[in-house]
Symmetry: C2
């Protein structure tokens, strides 16, 4: 008898659910609006309906599904399957695993979305051939996940790999977490946007402000990238600065994890032409040769489907680790 696996990617605007076979091939997927504004009960109903739709569409009975993986932004209590809070959803202390198992009769596992994305790249993306990798997502913030000997490294209470919140300069800018000089405060999309705003305000760059229609609030990393590509030196320097600090962070990752592979993803990587060379140069300057000599750095391979693939990797964990 074939084995099937279900994944649910919980987003602020959409719930994406998919059914895969034992090889991780997605057979059916279904997208539904989260309708977060309608409250917790409605969101949970929407999750359940999405799963039912997928099962119906594929003609597979729930009894043939071996397990269900759910990916959600944190903070979570993964051990007990609880969404403690979700900044995009009206969810507070939702015992999602218990609800799913009761309603669907399918063994359910909850994982935070950055870890799920790391697993997606490990099993179905850029990391499929390696056993030890670190995944970094450079988007509004900087998140990460590490895979050690083919298993997620989650730490004692599932809070490991907060690489974005390692301090790389105590005199640096204030970070969302309240500290000064976290990697995230230098090299995230938010921090690139902040530097671009400052440059526009202080008239160091007119083009940045022009590209944002003269509206400071519209300035973000994407606007800064556009300005840099149009020849604005200040904008290019902002990316170079972000690249420098990302390189410091990557060097630290290499010296701590000695990974076989670093996989870089996240929206800011769309502008990687503006900062990645600098980051890799600084990483190579800072990391120890013994670790650099075995290291590869790659961009993510999975696109929009990464979230869903991650939840499937979570569902398929035992099978993947045993057979992979």
């Amino acid at each position: 008898m074939s084995e099937y696996y279900l994944g649910i990617d919980l987003g602020g605007t959409k719930i994406l659910s998919g059914l895969a076979d034992g090889e991780g091939n997605i057979l059916t997927s279904y997208r539904r609006d989260t309708k977060a504004v309608m409250g917790e009960k409605h969101v949970i109903n929407n999750i359940l309906k999405t799963v039912e739709d997928v099962l119906q569409k594929s003609g597979i009975a729930a009894g043939h599904v071996k397990s269900l993986g759910i990916g959600s932004p944190g903070p979570l209590n993964t051990e007990n399957g609880i969404i403690i809070e979700n900044s995009n959803l009206p969810c507070k202390n939702v015992h999602i695993v218990e609800i799913m198992e009761k309603e669907l009769g399918i063994k359910t596992v909850l994982e935070n979305d950055a870890n799920a994305a790391a697993l997606a790249e490990k099993w179905f993306g850029a990391g499929r051939d390696v056993d030890d990798m670190v995944y970094l997502t450079i988007s509004t913030g900087i998140g990460g996940g590490a895979v050690i000997k083919r298993e997620l490294f989650s730490g004692y209470s599932n809070n490991a790999c907060e690489i974005g919140h390692t301090v790389i300069d105590p005199d640096g800018p204030i970070c969302g977490c309240g500290n000064h000089g976290c990697l995230e405060s230098f090299a995230s999309g938010k921090s690139i946007g902040r530097m671009a705003k400052e440059a526009a305000k202080s008239k160091q760059s007119n083009l940045i402000l022009e590209l944002a229609d003269g509206d400071l609030d519209k300035i973000d990393a994407a606007v800064c990238a556009e300005a840099a590509r149009k020849g604005d030196k200040t904008a290019a320097e902002i990316f170079s600065t972000a690249g420098f600090y990302l390189g410091i962070g990557l060097g630290n990752v290499v010296n701590i994890f000695n990974p076989q592979l670093i996989v870089l993803g996240g929206g800011v990587m769309k502008a990687s032409d503006l900062f990645l060379d600098k980051a890799l140069e600084i990483m190579r300057q800072n990391a120890l040769d013994a670790s650099l000599s075995v290291l590869e750095v790659k961009k993510v391979e999975l696109g929009g489907e990464k979230g869903l693939m991650g939840t499937l990797a979570v569902a398929m964990k035992e099978r993947l680790v045993e057979n992979g």
Copy 2:
């Protein structure tokens, strides 16, 4: 039939060898001068003789010894059992595991001394009750080792956990590794000594120089600690500065590893009254609450025997992980 295990701690001045039972109780140990000046062949012979002495003294035949653990400073190729170099010994590319297995007929495992010390604290010291811990040794340099799910985390090529060489301020002082602002360049014994020398040179502190008999070359972390304890404000500030940066490093360790326990050791910890409170205060400021709430910080429990206990933990690995 009882099981026995052998450990060899390779130091620059002494070779310490011990025989333990299956519980890790040292039954016999033997110390021999390394006599490094007499060359590689002599050192290897001394290692073999030390093992023979231990076996003879305990009346146990080599055939009853299940395995032998060797601890050595790096760089090593642990996978192939090779001491690539040892700054204290005349050893270059010595296939030590092959030699031991051929001469003694005992399965042999090589491990770097910092990792062995981490394992010693995990199995026989401060970490005996935990599964996830990070060990940091603050001595001339800063080294470390992490235990994840009761196993050593060694990285893809056995170079993980170079926490001393993570950059925490790119504008910081130059480190022995060539980078600027590594944790080691701020908070190691060597860096405390450097700051103390600078303070003496620039006449910020007369007491430091006085305690070193007016000889700048005699100033080290111990002299600085003595001055601080005698009321020298500059010396106390030097330790406070080291504590601040150690706190940044510890905060990063917490955010990356989310460990159950951090164990602190090394010679500089003799002066922990002068910097540890500051370090823990800064660590708590910087690390994420979710990880801090499960964290304990302890000092090492093992003393001079740690090196030997570590090599025994290396030898006993399978037994410990299975039964521990």
